[in-house]
């Protein structure tokens, strides 16, 4: 079309020998890539619409389809690659801000892969988790400063601050009903209940059907306050104040009116078709003192029975900010790294703002220890936890538990086509179209999530056992269990770890 020649990223290859023209691909693709050409009697594809979600490939009964990266390109060079040129064409054509989804895809360093774990040899025994007790239970919340005993010398456990009780140090991170589907939420809620952990509503309210999972639900309060009212606050096991998110630090959210339909409208408590705008800041929070006010207003409204989580994006001064939050009365701080996912964020923000969670969590844990306030809060690390080794490393760096979002979605069938913002998710996850939503079977989804987290739990126990550690508490902040590989002195210093061989 004219001068702005946008080259399709993918190419659909169809084997004419195998294709039976059953037209299943046409029905499966919400992006409208496949169509039947009555003149030729054959199927044809529109590559410009393909996002490489692989739905058609997986479902083609004749195995006739393959999607490959389109090698065709502009005449590019190291400075002006195809995507850079493509994006300029798009913006020259529309005048719009580029909108993307999922986490930062750029090749920044992944520090998880530059840290190695320890294991016991000779001088201390490793532990076999198959026959010896291994504690993965974790409590999140403020810990008392001192032990108190009654007149008979027994430990007093009354009046403890409220805690979240996790069987495994993994929670599902905030993804709103609206960003993801009813069936995706149902799968997360049921899996969290079965696993003895928690899922998070995000800023979309809590669907009426899911109040029964309340004891395993974290309800979120963000700047738009969608769906927030007394019963919602009381329904959850904890309340999370969302200040920021790793994928888009410093900016708000915006669910377009086209997605505010039916149950989404009911759950967010706003009219159908009305944009759901979450302003960038909370307009009652301009300081730590103001944050304290929101924290305590939520505690007052729920009679001090729920821990309050404050979620922030990992940004440059994250340690100082976390120190302030720990003094605001919050019980738990969640830090979301710059690779955390999103249903939609401006591309430039997603790709250029924030810092890696590995460095952030190490800096925050350090700072809170230096200031002797580490026990006032628990820490949750999120934003790119990909596997159980990442979980173990995050805890060794100082986290109490981790949030997983993208990994959970992949377990639900996400193929990382990174087109959530279109609302046409062929796997029934990031969509509200009823015909697409029903493609995600919540029974299968629940089972898949339980499988994933159970497998990680076993792996965590194996790794801990290998290190001679038999409880998550003994692993937390235990940076001697980590060694850096290929990191410079400054990186090692921020991470607070030695180099391999030291």
């Amino acid at each position: 079309m004219g001068i702005h020649d946008i080259i399709p990223e993918y190419e659909v290859l169809r084997d004419p020998q195998r294709c039976t023209v059953c037209r299943l691909c046409e029905r499966e693709c919400a992006n409208g890539v496949h169509s039947f050409n009555p003149k030729t009697g054959k199927m044809q594809s529109d590559n410009t619409k393909c996002v490489d979600c692989r739905r058609c490939v997986v479902f083609c009964p004749a195995h006739a389809l393959k999607i490959v990266r389109n090698e065709e390109s502009y005449r590019t060079n190291a400075q002006w690659d195809r995507q850079t040129v493509n994006e300029i064409f798009k913006q020259a054509e529309t005048g719009g801000m580029l909108l993307s989804s999922m986490g930062n895809p750029k090749p920044y360093p992944i520090y998880w892969d530059k840290m190695l774990l320890n294991a016991s040899q000779v001088t201390n025994p490793s532990i076999d988790p198959l026959r010896e007790p291994m504690e993965t239970r974790t409590f999140l919340g403020k810990k008392p400063h001192e032990l108190r005993r009654d007149e008979k010398g027994r430990l007093r456990t009354d009046n403890l601050p409220p805690q979240l009780d996790l069987d495994v140090p993994i929670l599902f991170s905030a993804m709103s009903y609206g960003a993801i589907s009813y069936n995706a939420h149902k799968s997360l809620a049921r899996a969290a209940t079965a696993l003895g952990t928690y899922y998070n509503t995000g800023e979309g309210g809590l669907h009426e059907d899911f109040y029964k999972y309340g004891p395993h639900t974290i309800v979120q309060v963000a700047s738009g306050r969608f769906g927030v009212y007394k019963r919602y606050l009381e329904a959850g096991a904890a309340i999370e104040i969302k200040i920021g998110q790793g994928a888009k630090p410093g900016i708000g959210g915006h669910l377009p009116g086209s997605k505010i339909v039916g149950d989404i409208s009911r759950t967010r408590m706003i009219p159908e078709g009305c944009d759901a705008i979450s302003p960038a800041p909370h307009h009652d929070i301009y300081s730590i003192e103001d944050l304290r006010q929101l924290v305590y207003s939520l505690k007052e409204a729920t009679d001090y029975k729920k821990p309050i989580i404050v979620k922030i994006a990992a940004v440059h001064n994250v340690a100082a900010i976390a120190s302030g939050i720990a003094r605001s009365g919050a019980d738990i701080i969640a830090v979301d790294g710059f690779r955390g996912g999103t249903g939609a964020a401006p591309t430039r923000i997603r790709d250029n703002v924030g810092i890696p969670i590995e460095l952030a969590i190490a800096a925050v844990d350090d700072r809170l220890r230096q200031e002797k306030i580490r026990d006032r809060v628990s820490l949750i690390a999120g934003g790119s936890i990909r596997n159980s080794a990442d979980v173990v490393k995050a805890i060794a760096l100082g986290a109490d538990a981790v949030y997983i979002g993208t990994a959970a979605l992949i377990a639900l069938g996400c193929h990382l086509c990174r087109a959530c913002q279109t609302g046409r998710c062929n796997w029934g996850i990031a969509t509200q179209r009823p015909d697409l939503v029903k493609r995600l079977d919540p029974d299968v989804g629940t089972k898949s999530l339980i499988n994933l987290v159970s497998a990680w739990k076993h792996e965590i126990m194996e790794m801990m056992g290998g290190m001679g550690i038999n409880s998550i508490e003994a692993l937390r902040g235990n940076r001697l269990m980590l060694r850096g590989i290929g990191l410079n002195d400054r990186e090692l210093k921020v991470l607070g770890i030695k180099h391999a061989g030291e």
Binding site: P271, Y296, S297, P346
Partner: protein, 241 residues
């Protein structure tokens, strides 16, 4: 009716006493800046003497709060239903994100009144300020009704700068002779029609009744109605990448 003396009590102690009080009619004397009074409350009626602190009636879910004095910032934050009546002035962000119920302020209110106020079905929140408000009135307003009367403004526009920024729902009604000069392009303003006045006459009667103000004196000046042009103000902002 039960009386609670707030003198020398911090907010936690005072609010606990209010929560556990079995009588639903409660008078609190000597309020002195205690925050969160009536947080999430329903089914009780508070009469507050003195000056309550920030976040009065936050998440209020029914019942009523009447203040004989001034209220501070974030009065009625994320309020869902019920009534807050202030016989004095209120501070910044009064009615922040409120979704239902009503807030009547006899005198003036601060900045960002009614910010992000929203409505849903039968929940149609209402804020009426008898005097003037500060800047950014009705910022991001998504529903409900905000009325500013300017009763002592003598025809002067009773709002500060940049009202209605980001407004995408609900309506704002100003009693004045001239509209603010800096209304954003995504709102439309017009003189109130007979239908508009009929729609708000019940609200104005309630307000006047609450404070013993004569309705004739309120209706003696012209009214303007401001509504958004679109419920999707930012639709053209993005291009998919």
């Amino acid at each position: 009716m039960v009386r609670i003396d707030a003198k020398g009590k911090n907010f936690q102690q005072l609010n606990e006493e209010i929560r556990v009080a079995e009588n639903s009619d409660i008078t609190v004397e000597h309020c002195m800046g205690q925050r969160y009074i009536g947080a999430g409350m329903s089914g009780k009626h508070l009469l507050l003497l003195g000056v309550p602190g920030n976040a009065l009636g936050c998440y209020l879910d029914g019942g009523s709060i009447r203040v004989l004095g001034n209220a501070q910032d974030q009065t009625g934050d994320t309020m869902n239903s019920g009534a807050i009546i202030v016989e004095g002035s209120s501070g910044d962000a009064t009615g922040y994100s409120m979704r239902g119920g009503k807030i009547f302020v006899r005198d003036n209110a601060g900045y960002r009144v009614g910010i992000h106020m929203k409505a849903y079905r039968e929940q149609q929140p209402l804020i009426i300020v008898g005097g003037e408000t500060g800047s950014f009135l009705g910022e991001y307003q998504a529903g409900g009704t905000i009325i500013v009367l300017g009763l002592n403004s003598e025809g002067r526009t009773p709002v500060g700068n940049l009202s209605c920024t980001g407004m995408h729902g609900g309506r704002m009604i100003l009693r004045c002779r001239r509209l603010p000069k800096d209304l954003p392009p995504q709102v439309s303003a017009a003189s109130a029609s007979k239908e508009d006045m009929a729609r708000i006459s019940g609200f104005l009667n309630d307000f006047c009744g609450a404070f013993g103000i004569s309705i004739q004196s309120v209706l003696s000046e012209p009214f303007f109605v401001i509504t958004p042009n679109t419920k999707n103000p930012y639709r053209a902002l993005y291009t998919e990448n």
